[in-house]
């Protein structure tokens, strides 16, 4: 599904990712954890194609294509979805209009017929119920005036509608109460299947109680310094990040 090799990236001349290697196979859920500033969100942004992040070395293969050669919209059309840590507000554009444009943009790119208004609305309402969103959110401007939790639910709604092959969740759990957290987990778990993969970026292990990952990676100073299974996340919860930092710092010193 996704194969990252020796990925280096910088923002305004400051190197942030310093050689990431990661393989994600179909059906797998990978969690990326790490202390603040370790490069977790940068990794998510680079994969989605954010311009400010310059790739200086390495390669990324996504479903047999060179991901780094594709534009942001092409990556999305190929099945890569990023759930934003801070979803963007767009005044005057109703959620319903936006969702339908998005669904149809992806469908069109994949050679499917576009949905008409009624078809799209039916689908959207169905998925809204799954993420416990009130239909009144359809008429509101995209994310405008939404609470943190409402924005994240809206991200999950989009994920369910677009049915990506790889969904990257960038600290989707940050700032969420337990109810919203469970909505997020439920959305992800309902979509888990043998052909779909997830990359869950999080600072806390809390989310991983609800979304049980197949692999856990610890990112520190722009590298994956430790990989393991679910138990690694639990260990991090117990011991914090300092022991890993110390070990890594001792090796590099």
């Amino acid at each position: 599904m996704l194969s990252i090799k020796n990925l280096h990236s910088q923002v305004e001349e400051t190197p942030i990712l310093k050689g990431i290697n990661l393989d994600i196979k179909p059906g797998e859920v990978h969690a990326i954890m790490g202390p603040n500033g370790s490069g977790k969100s940068t990794l998510a942004s680079v994969l989605a194609g954010r311009e400010e992040y310059e790739v200086t070395d390495g390669s990324v293969d996504f479903l047999g294509e060179d991901l780094l050669e594709l534009d942001v919209d092409e990556r999305a059309q190929n099945g890569l979805f990023l759930a934003f840590q801070y979803p963007i507000e767009i005044p005057g554009v109703t959620n319903a209009t936006f969702l339908r444009s998005s669904i149809n943009a992806i469908r069109k790119a994949n050679g499917l017929d576009e949905l008409n208004g009624a078809q799209a609305l039916k689908l959207i309402r169905e998925k809204m119920a799954a993420v416990e969103m009130d239909p009144s959110f359809l008429k509101r401007s995209l994310n405008e005036g939404f609470s943190g939790g409402e924005k994240k639910r809206n991200e999950m709604l989009q994920m369910m509608l677009l049915e990506p092959k790889l969904a990257i969740l960038d600290e989707t759990d940050s700032g969420l109460d337990i109810d919203a957290l469970q909505v997020v987990a439920k959305a992800v778990n309902s979509m888990r299947d043998a052909n779909r993969s997830f990359l869950v970026v999080t600072h806390y292990q809390r989310l991983l109680d609800h979304i049980v990952p197949d692999f856990v990676h610890v990112l520190y100073q722009g590298r994956i310094v430790r990989s393991g299974d679910k138990s690694l996340a639990l260990e991090l919860e117990k011991r914090g990040y300092d022991w890993i930092k110390e070990e890594v710092d001792a090796q590099t010193a």
Binding site: V72, D73, L142
Partner: protein
């Protein structure tokens, strides 16, 4: 004395009679030119006097300098003030039309037959524009509506023209209005009788009809008591025009309980990327809410012209009358727009709403200039103004000049203004959801303009959206 004057005048007439056969005047403006135009149109004496008076007034005036635009001074003696409607070379098929023009037509979704009319291709008899026109006219005539060219109105309904012309925009109003009064070419005239609701948007007719009205257009719309009309001005198709200066006048009069809705989409040639060759659009538009409970609503989508200088205004004279102004003004490349409105509250309980959306891209400058004036007798006047600017890139400018003159303490005035930049974040977000850069940009812009598009007649709104997309093509990245 009288005899002498009459003699002088008649000599003039004769002096010019031989030249009346010519179709185009050499450049330059003087009294003789004004007389020539009037004679050419076979106008009555009072109209010639009106023009001459305007010419004399204009000569004493100077071009306004307060406008926030910058351009080479217009040489008014380098313009030819009369040219008979030119027979454009007839083309045999659309294959002979500039492919760029056809591409734009297609983007706008203009039907093939209409494309032919707009680009001057000979049209087959079935949709002959004259017959279309006749059909419309018959339907309108049944309910007593007069809808014709201004020149025709001067001939057929001189009493109406004489009664209303210049009552909303007097000759002395401003430099360009005075110029128009002296040399106006043609335009439209609409009269809606008492209690009649115009059965159609006055649009399709106009679109085909008004292609060659010339550079000094004038329009007069009168809505009698309790009547209603929705008038659509302009054409969303690109207008190729060699006249650099356009100075039009639009006057609206709404009597008691009448409503006039006036929508404009203006897409004149903005000049090339270096700002060469665009049109100067200096237009005076004003509506008079003469009677109680009358309403005048201006809606405009402005994407064209190199320089736009335009303030569709409402004089709220009747008690409880309502004035509205909804505007989207887009500037790109080196375009400059200084546009807005004036709401003059005279009557009691008069209300006005101003919604202005300015979008600047490229190196353009976009200015909102608006006046809300409340006169001493205007008890309980209300105004709400909202002026939003959207910037694309960092080389363009947005400016807002709201003026307030309130002479009645009971007035309630609200003003809101925002300036925002199209964010990389917004574009990235939409693209991450599969939208192309162009679609992402259009989505954001349409959202920004939503309040204005919502009040445009539906068909017009769809075209306006497409027009915006075309105007802003390649303006990001």
């Amino acid at each position: 004395m009288e005899v002498l004057e009459a003699h002088a005048a008649s000599e003039y007439k004769y002096g010019w009679s031989s030249d009346i056969e010519t179709d185009t005047l050499p450049p330059g403006l003087n009294e003789d030119v004004v007389r020539f135009i009037s004679a050419k149109k076979d106008e009555p004496e009072w109209l010639l006097d009106y023009r001459l008076e305007a010419y004399r007034v204009w000569r004493e005036m100077v071009e306004p300098k307060w406008v926030n635009v910058d351009y080479e001074p217009v040489d008014f003696n380098a313009i030819s003030y009369y040219a008979a409607p030119k027979e454009k070379p007839k083309l045999n098929s659309l294959d002979e039309v500039d492919p760029e023009l056809i591409a734009t037509f297609n983007k706008l979704g203009i039907p093939l037959e209409e494309q032919k009319i707009l680009s001057g291709v000979a049209v087959d008899a079935v949709i002959d524009s004259v017959s279309v026109t006749t059909t419309y006219k018959e339907r309108l005539a049944e309910v007593g509506i007069i809808f014709c060219s201004f020149s025709e109105a001067v001939k057929e309904h001189p009493e109406l023209v004489r009664k209303y012309m210049g009552t909303v925009i007097p000759t002395k109003d401003n430099f360009y209005a005075a110029l128009n009064n002296a040399v106006f070419s043609d335009g439209s005239f609409v009269y809606i009788p008492k209690g009649v609701r115009c059965p159609m948007e006055l649009s399709t007719y106009f679109r085909i009809n008004a292609i060659n009205t010339g550079q000094f257009e004038r329009t007069l719309i009168i809505a009698e008591e309790g009547s209603y009309v929705s008038y659509l001005e302009g054409c969303t198709a690109p207008k190729r025009d060699e006249n650099q200066l356009h100075a039009a006048i639009v006057e609206l009069v709404a009597h008691k309980d009448a409503e006039i809705k006036y929508s404009t989409v203006q897409n004149w040639y903005p000049g090339d990327k270096n700002g060469k060759g665009g049109i100067y659009n200096f237009v005076t538009k004003r509506g008079l809410c003469e009677g109680e409970n009358s309403k005048i609503s201006w809606t405009q989508v402005e994407t064209g012209s190199a320089i736009t200088w335009k303030y569709p205004s409402c004089v709220l004279k009747g008690d409880n009358s309502v004035g509205e102004f909804y505007s989207v003004a887009v500037t790109n490349n080196l375009q400059q727009a200084d546009t807005g409105t004036k709401m003059i509250h005279i009557g009691k309980n008069t209300r006005s709403t101003i919604i202005s959306k300015g979008i600047s891209a490229g190196k353009s400058q976009n200015t909102y200039r608006g006046l809300v004036k409340v006169l001493p007798k205007a008890e309980n006047a209300r105004n709400f103004s909202q002026c939003d600017s959207l910037l694309m890139g960092d080389k363009c400018g947005a400016h807002t000049f709201p003026y307030l003159e309130v002479d009645n303490k009971s007035a309630q005035i609200e003003h809101e203004a925002t300036t925002s930049k199209i964010g990389e974040d917004q574009l990235f977000y939409l693209k991450q959801r599969g939208l192309s850069e162009e679609d992402a940009l259009n989505t954001i812009v349409n959202g920004f303009c939503k309040d204005v598009f919502a009040v445009l007649p539906m068909e017009f709104a769809a075209e306006a959206k497409k027009l915006l997309a075309i105007s802003l093509e390649n303006s990001v990245g």
